[in-house]
Subunit: 266 residues, 2 copies
Amino acid sequence: MITKSKPLPPHKPSTRQAGRIQLISLPGLPEIRKGDDLARMIFQAAISAGIAFEKNDVVVVAQKIVSKAEGCVVQLSSVKPSPNARKLAAALKKDPRFIELILRQTRRIVRSEHVLIVETHHGFVCANGGVDRSNVPGCDSVAVLPKDPDKSARNLAAALKKLSGKTVAVILSDTFGRPWRLGLTNVAIGAAGIPVLRDLRGQRDRNRKRLHATILAVADEIATAAGLLMGKSDGTPVVIVRNYSYRPRNDRAARIVRPPDEDLFR
Amino acid sequence: MITKSKPLPPHKPSTRQAGRIQLISLPGLPEIRKGDDLARMIFQAAISAGIAFEKNDVVVVAQKIVSKAEGCVVQLSSVKPSPNARKLAAALKKDPRFIELILRQTRRIVRSEHVLIVETHHGFVCANGGVDRSNVPGCDSVAVLPKDPDKSARNLAAALKKLSGKTVAVILSDTFGRPWRLGLTNVAIGAAGIPVLRDLRGQRDRNRKRLHATILAVADEIATAAGLLMGKSDGTPVVIVRNYSYRPRNDRAARIVRPPDEDLFR
């Protein structure tokens, strides 16, 4: 929202985001396994594809391959559902072991109708607490979210810097649904080396009105853009976002989570 | 979600989204006024910037300039607030004329705490019903959403085709907030020439598991990606998304609105 502003010199449009951004998908990554050196595999896939990292590239990495590398894959057959999970599973007509895994990720159940929407221990509100069977080999295997996705992103950024000599940002993405609108979009669940929010409050629009309620969810925007080249069935879990202009700094995707006391849809 | 699938030939990863996507911001658009031929102005700005439209470019246009061209700008001083608007404005500590304008766009109030979140007559759920003071010249002026944003997109796509000789898709974008996560992102409120959702249900992931609950919100993804070059204070309301692979067809962004009976957060 905007309020009246005093006379000011004519507006100079910002040109810092003018120009072109490239989204580059990284082909050729093999199936990722527990303990794999993901940064090295990404770096080598880039070299094989003739892609050299550039300063301030944002490397968007699908959560699933990070979970695999970190061993966040669980065999359903090893899961013993609690009575609570059994009850919920019966109501939702789901596998009680799957529900048990979700509940282990859960701080709070937000909705439990048709689908189980929970707040994870990270604070993310999403369907099934991020527990997902897709793109995990084996019918018995499911992936859960990395324990600390911001830390995972920091580790990847540091390793990619060592390997490539370039300072890059890293965003871990996952596909979340939304209320009110159909379809999934990528969001950022982890970030390193890039501000996750762009606070325009106090800046002025091109008519010199002061912007009051404008914070842009930059890390989510970047994750979503990368999603255009990911596609759940495409097998391209890494996308490089090049030429997006930002001031590198430490930040955490955890900061995108809306504080509960400001959230009208808990 | 995924279920067991019968043995199948080895998965061939789709390559249709592999490669590079370019986001190209369009500089040099003048302030848009009621009755302006927006398609012609976009076309001419592109020529001046040395950008030639290519087949299947997706032209993302910020809602605000469409509203201006279509005369969807209202002088607050001309608005007579209803008793209901006055009451709500007092509770929210807002200008009653502003609230009145929101209510005129409103089919249903979703939340009215700190901020007014409504379902517009289009079906969109957003803060202030899309009524917005930013980037509208004059302290007394506010913009409302176009009456039929899908029609606006269709008209722009048809006119750009005539001018450029190229079939392009058009997406009208606006910045919406989200529950659970801070910050605004662009979403598609109008679309023409491109499928707005990509339904992967029944397709298989790279491990040949069948994808069950995966519909990607493509038009929102594209709008969000374009948002990286828009920025509310940057004065770049048109972004061309190039080399995104899709099958052109008629569709409507209205289709992204989640049917009320499937929506758990109404």
